[in-house]
Symmetry: C2
Subunit: 361 residues, 2 copies
């Protein structure tokens, strides 16, 4: 149990006062910003998330704003996913890569306007890559991090809670689409998205001053829905196979290895197209069930079979609902078939494990 | 007091077992890696650093390796500092900027070989910018993060301790120069540098397996020198005016505003040259002495004079040796003269402060 020392560099968010008042018990750091990791504990948070509704401070999902006449040109240069059919109200999950096909981030792109995109990033300063490309080519575009802090509402009662604050229009928002809806007279982008499999929304709060009023409005409106402060839940995300950049895949991996091949379909000559096509896929993300007691997965766990190294596990936690340790690993082709038995080397010793056919939910 | 939740994404270092055994009491996160923030507490660590010698896990100073035929071309494109006279054994502090002159990082560049540089970075993924430029221009260079983890030895007895492990050759290393010295038969780059004003070295441990053996060798050799595990000390760095990227300056600032103008002297047409030249310098880094009790400076503190905002304070702590709260701020030209009285708005209320002529050491 080691304390975190905060500073301006490890930034607070517009919602931090609410998070603190709600009794956050641990943080992690994500994009140079505080991200709550637990309130009541992983298990308590998990059960609540699956039954009720939670409000999450995910301001750390920083936006890379790409705006200007060359915005689409720049987006097309960096996106392995075809953007030509992206609707005006659409959000696209795009695995972004370097010239060799190595993953740099796995953000969600939001089409804000014709010449304006937000790239809602996972934990790496992808802004710097986009900026490097723009600066090197002298593109007519402004790349910056705006004052936009996503607030997520997640859980089965999300529609009910959101409708009380933003009106019944939220119910009509389709998956990975958004509407501009007003809170206290200010229109914000409200998308049906979020880092859980329980359903819900992300509100792109584009002025920090609205942060705490919105936080408080959601809690005031949802008392009978058992609304609580929450955060991305380690157990639930592993059950659902939601990947975490920096944990489950890094620049060492391609989108294909990460199981994201379906998002690689751009007809354009984007950076990384040739490199990505040239690389064979010799390992891939797999769910694993691990036996026995597990320590915290705070480091890469090598995976072995018959004494030879055949992969690694990078996220793992006991699942109360499925009665096993659920895990995400990257497994070599020789051992990636469902049912394959392997051994996982934790800091507390070897554990037996089995490659699964699919994630649990 | 909030706990940090570790994961593979918030990476351990080769020295973490030593740090834990030494009783680290708080961490921060820096370049997606654990950076110890306190062992005995800021004040105890501070007095010890100024009197004895400490070993610091600064593996979080990750290296951006730039290697290949176009390495110097790429370095010249991104560096506002003239690299033409850089000696083969030299380290250069270089404030790096975008096309508008905004700071992206303030790393130390190390010339490893003719076509090979390491950029030892502060807390932003500057690798992504360098890679973006290289990928956009198709440069013949490999940009990657190698397995290099700096270990710092800092404090007045650093030469004595280092000589016992690496030999008396360490005493001849000049400031911001390096020698290749052997530990257990492996040559490592040992530079006279580090993030304190107490003197010392940084060892670029370029194979994680040597991390703990080197850590243990330093402690075994220095018992009578009162060697201890330490870390960059908030009080000492503010006294000495050592800036922290993300705290004291960001992309919103130029090198001139950060007081780093002397490092802007490249004759080459680097990215940002025109932008940097065009921007007026209307604010600048200043030392401030603040009166009264201070809460933790974990957020930007606005600075006022006569009710008008004239700047901000971003790092502050009580200095036992100087008997005042020492602070680093960015102050508008109208109020940046030494002796100017201002007010600093902390989360616990207003405090009187005075702009200083220079830092304390």
């Amino acid at each position: 149990m080691t304390v975190i020392t905060s500073s301006r560099r490890v930034r607070r968010t517009p919602f931090t006062p609410g998070v603190e008042a709600a009794g956050v018990t641990s943080y992690t750091v994500y994009n140079h910003m505080l991200l709550p990791a637990q309130f009541g504990g992983f298990v308590e948070d998990y059960h609540h998330l699956k039954r009720h509704v939670q409000v999450w401070d995910v301001a750390c999902e920083r936006q890379v704003s790409v705006k200007g006449p060359d915005a689409l040109r720049l987006m097309t240069l960096i996106s392995p996913r075809d953007l030509t059919k992206m609707a005006d109200d659409q959000c696209y999950y795009i695995p972004v890569v370097d010239r060799n096909g190595g993953l740099l981030n796995d953000p969600v792109a939001v089409k804000v306007a014709a010449n304006h995109y937000w790239i809602s990033i996972a934990d790496s300063d992808y802004l710097q890559y986009v900026l490097g490309v723009a600066d090197a080519l002298g593109l007519d575009v402004v790349v910056e991090e705006p004052d936009v802090s996503p607030l997520a509402v997640q859980g089965p009662k999300s529609d009910d809670l959101m409708a009380r604050v933003f009106g019944d229009a939220v119910r009509e928002i389709r998956f990975f689409r958004y509407k501009r809806l007003a809170f206290e007279g200010r229109e914000m982008i409200v998308a049906r998205s979020g880092y859980s499999k329980q359903g819900g929304f992300e509100i792109y709060v584009d002025d920090g001053d609205y942060g705490m009023p919105l936080w408080e409005a959601l809690f005031a409106a949802g008392e009978d829905l058992h609304v609580r402060a929450g955060c991305p839940n380690l157990i639930e995300r592993v059950e659902g196979g939601l990947l975490s950049y920096g944990n489950d895949m890094t620049r060492a991996n391609t989108p294909f290895e990460a199981g994201l091949g379906k998002y690689v379909n751009s007809p354009a000559d984007y950076i990384g197209k040739a490199g990505l096509t040239a690389r064979p896929v010799e390992r891939m993300i797999r769910p694993l069930a691990i036996e026995g007691d597990l320590p915290r997965c705070d480091r890469l766990w090598p995976v072995y079979a018959g004494g030879a190294r055949v992969g690694q596990v990078t996220s793992a936690k006991y699942s109360p609902d499925f009665g096993t340790n659920v895990a995400i690993g990257m497994i070599d082709q020789s051992h990636w078939d469902a049912g394959t038995k392997v051994e996982v080397e934790t800091q507390d010793g070897m554990r037996d494990a089995v490659v699964q056919a699919k994630f649990w939910i």
